[in-house]
């Protein structure tokens, strides 16, 4: 019985989809009442997933759609990062994964400065370097253990941040970007010349969080997981700063609209500096982590090449988003570490990717959807300009924007019906209409008249008896209560039949014009 019903399962009738129907959006089933149920973070009203419930106008079923799948992708991606590298890779792979997590953390925090605060500072790696050198110095000369280094790193970052924030108050955009490039170069010159900071070899010998009893592999894996935790912490910091009060204030004061925001009472300067200092302190913390991971700090932190690599990561992913920072880092680190056998060519490749991104994409990889939509909109309006209508039928590019797909079919039916009726209109038909009031009419005339009678009341023609049996005029109904009909023309008819025929002629003319 079951086998029979399986084999005779009626296949869904091949109904053509309305133009513009979105097949690819995954739809969750569920009772309509489920639309009010939400997972919420404890003690807040925030929900992890934005779900919208709608009723399908055809089947009347409740359909739930996930509006923003980003949280799911984040969880999958971070879970893969947590499980995969220590399982599948050898030691150098785990080391590469560690540096990926660390660079991603730096980039996410840096994004707060260049994205949220809109301060184009290129001194991010210099801040990391100051944190690393400062905490290494305390460890090497004063015997600070690793946890104390972690605590002092942010302090160094904060102090450095305060120093480089002073010019940021006065300078604008590119003046500041150039100045920070110079500051990075200054730091490099300083640490390579100073004997107490280890000159060109770097300041090595700092305490590490890896216990000396641990195996090499164990230490690497521990380092990787701590770096991953650091990345998670950076993402949380990004969310807290960018998504809460500070970020919202700054989003209200974008570039070139500062004066307006100021008029609203938003102190955007202070807010920018606050965000800048927060991210500087966090970068100092990353620097301390760097020092405890690699037993010290080296001048390579301050080189122009490292800065360029970091910028490449941010640019490829797209400035202004955390996911752009992480994915861009992944791509660049993949090229930098996996193709290490290629030598300088791999850096040329990375620079090529960076150049290509900048030449062809407005906002990096994660700006592609918006850029594609803008491009499609442009092409669509160009096409509309070329042929705006096709007999009143809805064009495919318009159909996407119409929610009630039935309206599309109604207009399609109407267009085809009118095309058929136009073939019936002849001189004889018009003469027949004038001659046969009150009599039986031909099939063709009845069809035409039925269509005319069925049109909407708005702008429908009617006759107005100015003087009964003597003077009639044609009017058009307004279709709104209380609004009188308007006169169509000055033509005056002496009999009711003439007036009715006049209405018929007008409708025929409209039909032929449509």
């Amino acid at each position: 019985m079951a086998a029979q019903s399986d084999s005779q399962e009626p296949t869904a009738p091949a109904v053509p989809l309305a133009v513009g129907a979105r097949r690819w959006l995954p739809v969750l089933r569920g009772h309509g009442g489920a639309s009010w149920r939400r997972w919420r973070y404890p003690f807040t009203r925030r929900t992890p997933l934005l779900i919208e419930t709608d009723f399908n106008p055809v089947t009347l079923n409740a359909e739930r759609r996930i509006l923003n799948p980003a949280p799911i992708l984040w969880v999958i991606g971070l879970a893969a990062l947590a499980i995969a590298p220590p399982q599948i890779g050898n030691n150098s792979f785990v080391l590469s994964a560690t540096s990926f997590a660390m660079y991603a953390a730096i980039n996410v925090i840096w994004m707060l400065t260049i994205g949220t605060a809109g301060i184009f500072s290129l001194a991010s790696l210099a801040t990391v370097g100051v944190g690393a050198y400062g905490s290494s110095y305390l460890s090497v000369y004063f015997g600070f253990p690793w946890w104390a280094m972690w605590l002092t790193g942010p302090l160094f970052g904060l102090v450095f941040g305060v120093i480089i924030a002073i010019p940021a108050i006065r300078l604008e955009g590119f003046y500041y970007a150039l100045l920070t490039v110079g500051i990075t170069e200054l730091c490099r010159a300083f640490v390579t010349q100073d004997q107490t900071l280890g000159s060109a070899n770097g300041l090595l010998g700092a305490d590490s969080f890896v216990p000396s009893s641990m195996s090499d592999r164990g230490g690497l894996v521990l380092g990787y997981y701590l770096a991953l935790l650091l990345l998670l912490g950076a993402l949380v910091l990004y969310r807290v700063v960018n998504g809460q009060r500070l970020g919202r204030l700054l989003r209200a004061a974008p570039e070139k609209h500062e004066a307006f925001a100021e008029a609203l009472g938003i102190d955007y300067r202070t807010t920018r500096i606050q965000v800048f200092l927060i991210s500087s302190a966090a970068l100092g913390g990353v620097g301390a982590f760097y020092a405890t991971l690699l037993h010290g700090a080296t001048p390579s932190l301050f080189t122009m090449d490292q800065l360029l690599l970091l910028l490449a990561m941010v640019v490829v992913g797209g400035i202004g988003t955390a996911e752009g920072a992480v994915v861009g880092t992944l791509i660049v680190v993949l090229f930098d570490k996996v193709f290490i056998g290629l030598g300088p060519i791999r850096l040329i490749l990375i620079a090529g990717i960076m150049l290509g991104t900048v030449l062809f994409l407005r906002g990096g990889l994660f700006g592609i959807p918006a850029q594609y939509l803008a491009w499609r909109g442009k092409r669509r309006s160009e096409r509309r300009g070329r042929h705006s209508s096709k007999g009143g039928e809805v064009m495919p590019e318009d159909a996407i924007e119409i929610t009630d797909k039935q309206a599309i079919f109604v207009r399609r039916f109407d267009a085809r019906l009118r095309a058929e009726l136009k073939k019936l209109i002849t001189e004889d038909l018009i003469k027949e209409h004038r001659a046969t009031f009150g009599q039986r009419r031909s099939d063709a005339l009845e069809r035409v008249l039925t269509y005319f009678r069925s049109v909407a009341v708005t702008d429908k023609y009617a006759i107005l008896a100015v003087k009964p049996f003597a003077e009639y005029r044609i009017v058009a109904l307004s279709g709104r209560r209380g609004v009188p009909p308007r006169a169509v023309d000055d033509q005056v008819f002496t009999s009711e039949h003439d007036a009715l025929h006049g209405v018929f002629l007008k409708r025929v003319q409209d039909l032929m014009d449509s």
Binding site: F120, I166, P167, R170, L171, E172, G173, F174, Y175, A177, L178, L179, V181, G182, I183, E185, L186, A189, F190, Q193, D194, M304, D305, L308, L311, A312, V315, I319, G343, P344, I345, L347, I348, I350, A351, G352, M354, L355, V358, L359, R362
Partner: protein, 292 residues
């Protein structure tokens, strides 16, 4: 230490950095682009001059001409890659800045790949020796650097003031859209600017290589110093860049005498930060938002 000697060193260095700074300044004010590939142009020109000295002749004119021409070509390449495809696109200033950075990364690595990290030395085009002017002793290469850069600067300034193309460049500095409306070709003018500034960087490279060596990343320090001078002088102002170059040269000489060579960069930066805090657009920078 002879203070006259240090002063002369500082002035000759300042004249070389001034060449780069004026290039950066002119490019910013006429094209609206921060050219961080100027260091790459500098390095490529050094290698061009070296190749000419190896293969053609060690004659001073040949070496200088080769450096200047390679610099102009590298400048044109930067313009083709970073200005022409981008100048009418949204977010142009940031995208072109990143494009020039990418060019400088690519170029540096390509040079490293082609020429290996071993440093190269140019022949002494001004000869070896020195002359005495009163109490001071000046070596030929320093005098040569000051004279050469002064000649090229004067030629460039005269060309910008007197020629048709210079008029177009100045029109583009004041208002690029207005210039385009009255028939100035933005692309061709931009390429001319890139070639002239590239030639200036090329000359600076040949002159500086009389003292230092050529290596794939030799352009970074001159780029940073040129930028510092351009910033302190005010982006877009040739006169400001000249004043700033002299001032920063004096700061360098004074620091080297009083404190020691390793503090030079630090005092320079403190000086420029102080200048920028007092005048955020530099000593003679254009009025705020004038390029928008």
């Amino acid at each position: 230490m002879d203070p006259y000697y240090l002063l002369l060193t500082a002035v000759s260095l300042a004249s070389i950095y001034g060449l780069l700074a004026i290039g950066i300044s002119i490019i910013w004010s006429s094209l609206g682009m921060i050219n961080l590939a100027q260091g790459f142009t500098f390095t490529v020109a050094g290698y061009g001059a070296w190749l000419a000295a190896q293969n053609i002749s060690t004659n001073g004119f040949v070496v200088v001409a080769a450096g200047v021409m390679t610099g102009a070509l590298a400048g044109a390449l930067t313009g083709l890659l970073a200005f022409i495809p981008l100048y009418d696109k949204p977010n142009f200033p940031l995208r072109s800045l990143i494009a020039t950075l990418a060019i400088s990364l690519m170029g540096g690595q390509a040079l490293l790949w082609l020429f290996t990290p071993r440093v190269k030395a140019l022949p002494k085009i001004f000869g070896v020796g020195s002359i005495h002017i009163g109490p001071a002793t000046a070596s030929y290469d320093k005098i040569g650097a000051i004279v050469c850069s002064a000649i090229l600067l004067l030629l460039t300034l005269g060309w910008m003031k007197g020629s048709r193309r210079g008029l177009e460049i100045r029109a583009m500095m004041q208002n690029p859209e207005g210039a385009a409306l009255v028939g100035v070709g933005l692309r061709s003018t931009a390429m001319a600017v890139m070639m002239v500034t590239g030639a200036m960087a090329g000359l600076a490279s040949v002159l500086l290589s009389q003292t230092y060596f050529i290596s794939p990343f030799a352009g970074t320090t001159p780029l940073v110093k040129g930028m510092v001078v351009a910033l302190a002088g005010g982006l877009g102002s040739v006169a400001g860049a000249l004043i700033a170059a002299v001032l920063i040269g004096f700061v360098e000489a004074f620091t080297a005498v009083q404190l020691g060579g390793q503090y030079v960069l630090m005092t320079q930066f403190l000086f420029i930060i102080a200048v920028l805090l007092v005048r955020p657009r530099g000593i003679a920078g254009m009025i705020e938002h004038s390029r928008e």
